[in-house]
């Protein structure tokens, strides 16, 4: 028995399950999360079998990988970070039952940089996990910008491919998702400009204030959003945002739907922060005005 085997058996005993010698199934682990110690697994909501106690945390440089669905727990040995050392996977053992629930966003953020590190070191499965995680949001973004399904799909595909090809240029001090959003926004904007060359400007603030000074302000009543069924509200929000001109829509989508900062939005669109602020103000006021048609109390009872 090697030292690794001893450690593995101790670990298997620790989690209360017999070791199953499995031939390295790493490429098939579609969803996984990295942990530095057993205690992290024990307290992580991502893993259902929380039977690993802190006092029994395996010593030294061992690292653990738990699949996101909780099926496989892998034990690694070796001094280096295991993300780059998949060959160091010594054994796996089955733990608990699959967990169909999605990772809470906090956990998702925390393990994002580990997935990125793994993807950078050539782990395609890790990159696929990043794709799985963000594809829906990226498509939403490219659709919201282009309003054209074909363009949105192309922009999304190219964005993920560019992210993959340029992973080495990604600096881990920022969030991968924000970086990805910037790439996707660029891809979507390029296609939008191609289709509507005269409608999308790169310039400074669009001046002129008279067009959005509201007239006849009327109360929407308490919780107007609750007067509508969820699907009905969704249709209203969708139709209203579609009426927004591309310049305003792009900025609004990045700032208020995707939650990018003013600086990040400015960088993604290629305009100044002042222009972002000006367009955001107008976009918000225009949307409010358009929503007013649907939400004012006399509009629906």
């Amino acid at each position: 028995m090697t030292a690794d085997d001893h450690q593995f058996h101790a670990f298997a005993k620790m989690v209360g399950q017999g070791p199953h010698s499995v031939s390295l199934p790493v490429p098939r682990l579609a969803r996984h999360t990295w942990f530095d110690n057993a205690a992290q697994i024990a307290t992580s909501p991502a893993v259902p079998g929380r039977r690993i106690s802190e006092s029994r945390t395996a010593a030294g440089s061992s690292k653990y990988m738990a699949s996101r669905c909780g099926v496989v727990l892998c034990y690694f040995s070796g001094a280096k970070h295991p993300t780059g050392l998949l060959a160091n996977l010594v054994k796996t053992l089955t733990l608990s039952t699959p967990n169909p629930h999605r990772l809470p966003s906090k956990v998702a953020r925390e393990d994002e940089h580990l997935l990125v590190a793994a993807a950078k070191s050539g782990d395609i499965t890790a990159f696929e996990e990043l794709v799985n995680r963000y594809e829906r949001k990226i498509f939403r973004l490219t659709m919201n910008i282009t309003r054209n399904r074909e363009d949105a799909e192309d922009a999304m595909q190219d964005a993920f491919m560019k992210a993959y090809s340029h992973l080495d240029k990604f600096h881990e001090d920022s969030r991968f998702y924000t970086w990805l959003v910037r790439i996707a926004a660029n891809e979507a904007l390029m296609r939008l400009r191609k289709r509507r060359p005269n409608q999308v400007s790169l310039d400074e603030p669009i001046e002129g204030e008279d067009d959005f000074i509201p007239q006849q302000i009327q109360d929407w009543g308490p919780s107007p959003e609750q007067r509508y069924a969820q699907t009905e509200m969704r249709d209203i929000l969708r139709s209203v945002i579609e009426e927004l001109s591309p310049d305003f829509r792009v900025v609004f989508v990045l700032r208020d739907v995707e939650g990018l900062s003013t600086g990040e939005t400015a960088e993604a669109v290629g305009i100044s922060e002042a222009a972002v602020k000006s367009r955001l103000l107008r976009a918000r006021l225009k949307l409010r005005q358009k929503l007013d048609r649907h939400l004012r109390q006399d509009g629906k009872h």
Partner: protein
């Protein structure tokens, strides 16, 4: 500060990016102006309604094509 002044600052006011003195002026105005109070409320709700809103469906065929394309391109790139 008049109504137009409030409108000009409404976005930064909602985002909490204004200096305390401007905030005070806006709130002083709002105490006397029902229209501006409603306008701020409704603009804030507008932003809230859209935040992280899932207005776009993600069709299964779009997802399948993405996965297929990425797999193919990654394979090509690694050659």
């Amino acid at each position: 500060l008049n109504c137009n002044g409030v409108i000009r600052h409404i976005s930064s006011y909602i985002d909490g990016e204004l200096e305390a003195t401007v905030v005070e002026e806006i709130e002083l105005h709002m105490r006397q102006c029902r229209d501006c109070t409603i306008l701020v409320q409704q603009t804030r709700l507008t932003v809230h309604l859209y935040y992280d809103s899932d207005l776009v469906d993600f069709p299964a065929d779009v997802q399948a094509r993405l996965h297929k394309t990425l797999r193919k391109k990654i394979r090509e790139e690694r050659k």
